[in-house]
Symmetry: C2
Subunit: 341 residues, 2 copies
Amino acid sequence: MNSSAINRQILLASRPQGEPTVDNFRLVETPVPALAEGQVLVRNHYLSLDPYMRGRMNDGKSYAAPQPLDAVMIGGTAGEVVESRNANFKAGDRVVGMGGWQEYQLVDASQRGVLQKVDTTHIPLSAYLGAVGMPGVTAWYGLVKIIQAKAGQTVVVSAASGAVGSAVGQLAKARGARAVGIAGGADKCRYVVEELGFDACIDYKEHKDLKSLSAALKQACPDGIDGHFENVGGMILDAVLMRANAFSRVALCGMISGYNGEPIPLQFPQLLLSNRMSIEGFIVSEHMEIWPEALKELGTLVATGKLKYRETVAQGIAAAPEAFLGLLKGRNFGKQLVKLV
Amino acid sequence: MNSSAINRQILLASRPQGEPTVDNFRLVETPVPALAEGQVLVRNHYLSLDPYMRGRMNDGKSYAAPQPLDAVMIGGTAGEVVESRNANFKAGDRVVGMGGWQEYQLVDASQRGVLQKVDTTHIPLSAYLGAVGMPGVTAWYGLVKIIQAKAGQTVVVSAASGAVGSAVGQLAKARGARAVGIAGGADKCRYVVEELGFDACIDYKEHKDLKSLSAALKQACPDGIDGHFENVGGMILDAVLMRANAFSRVALCGMISGYNGEPIPLQFPQLLLSNRMSIEGFIVSEHMEIWPEALKELGTLVATGKLKYRETVAQGIAAAPEAFLGLLKGRNFGKQLVKLV
């Protein structure tokens, strides 16, 4: 590897009006510049695709600055150091970072936290973008800190076969709670119950209206719902509230059903009052203090085979936009990655 | 006083379909029975009318059992012991309890907490139904325990001139926060600012749509909203969310705008996520552990003239139904009472 290498990158070319398309992205090739002192060149092996990226494509007010136009799309990456002018890193080190949608990243590794060395002896490199990475810690924070799941309680999670949802349910089971998933399609629901060990899973595609979905939740949660981890919003959140117990808690992690601007009103907010519920939105990157504890539990569970996960892997950087659009439509099955090497 | 006295009572005669009317109530006269050992006969001087009573008139699932038909309407009362066969009470004691909509109550005062002696040396008897009673403690719990108001923050409260809302704003000011009220009409708003010392008050009757109300909130809350105490719901809650700051907190105490079955959807629940907000419904009677601390602060503030309040007083038990219907429409100004003596 040297500075004559070509780096293929995906830029945000335009902001989507409603549903994004591949035309919102542009593939470019740029030479990899020479390393300055303190810098590390990483070859990205895996690119993580995550729903939050949809929000960054918009220009509106949100918790994070918008993704700039004509710049490399942001995103988590896992890869290998190929060249280093930093004493803390050497060629061959496995690392995770926020390398973005590109094959190589050149980083000033003297900035604390920008690049993390990881041990792939017992944990696959890609898992550091999923169960032992941001999605896993997201699941842990919502379940442990907001829902505060306890043995004997019932916890529901939407997008249950996804990177976050699958960890939520398994962490709930590890705490002695009943775990009920909501996912799209019979295959995903079978996987959630048979492979991941959830107690039940509801295929939302089988329930076109609120009454039907609420009835399915009643059947799957005979003792009501004590905690809910929300990744989807819309009708799912309405249905959960209709089955929620007194003092139940909702961790609001995502509302993918409204990411393209669809109206997703909460129909009966008065249930928050009559059930004395709490609902809390969160972004896991604002709670760095819990990452070590969460990663320790998640890493141990993955290394010992007790926390299972599934990956959908697109091949090559050029496939990233299509794979991302598929993720927004739920076409992935488990953690969506792009394999670059 | 003796057992030949006549007790006039208001019963729930029928459940309202939508908006209640006076026909849902019935006035009856019953003789006061003779006292058994341990009992106390109280002549109620004041009856408290509160929005929560509307919910009890319904038969549906809620946090409390429905008010039974053909039974005395529940409600807080303040009065005087007129006869006692209980060693802990004597004629002349001033007491508060849950005597209901009636002139006399006969209570087994050996049940702990059913009747509380109060000191009217520095605090008027009626205040124990308002600022130094359930409404005051409700304000205190939501502001101190849920909103966790701090100096320099901005706190908004709806129904700001009411028994709860007026205490919320004054307690927020006492903590160094900016207090912004929402109330119905210029008179109430003037009172909230000029008499109660709020920093600003918005007349919701001047703002017929969400855009207008949100713009008024922006003007009244130039640094955004850090805490909101909700008594009304509907468009007010939507408008507050549009001006809410990151990590802001909503104490959900009441949603009077939907008490007659009106739809009150929350239009943009995604703001809870993008602002990493929390919203929590509560019922103050489920948090008895905080009453002593809250009542101590509230009592001191009222006795020293630092916590102001206003009362609307209807005369005589027969006036209770009309007064209650007026309360639901915001016709009262401050705490709604019925004076019986």
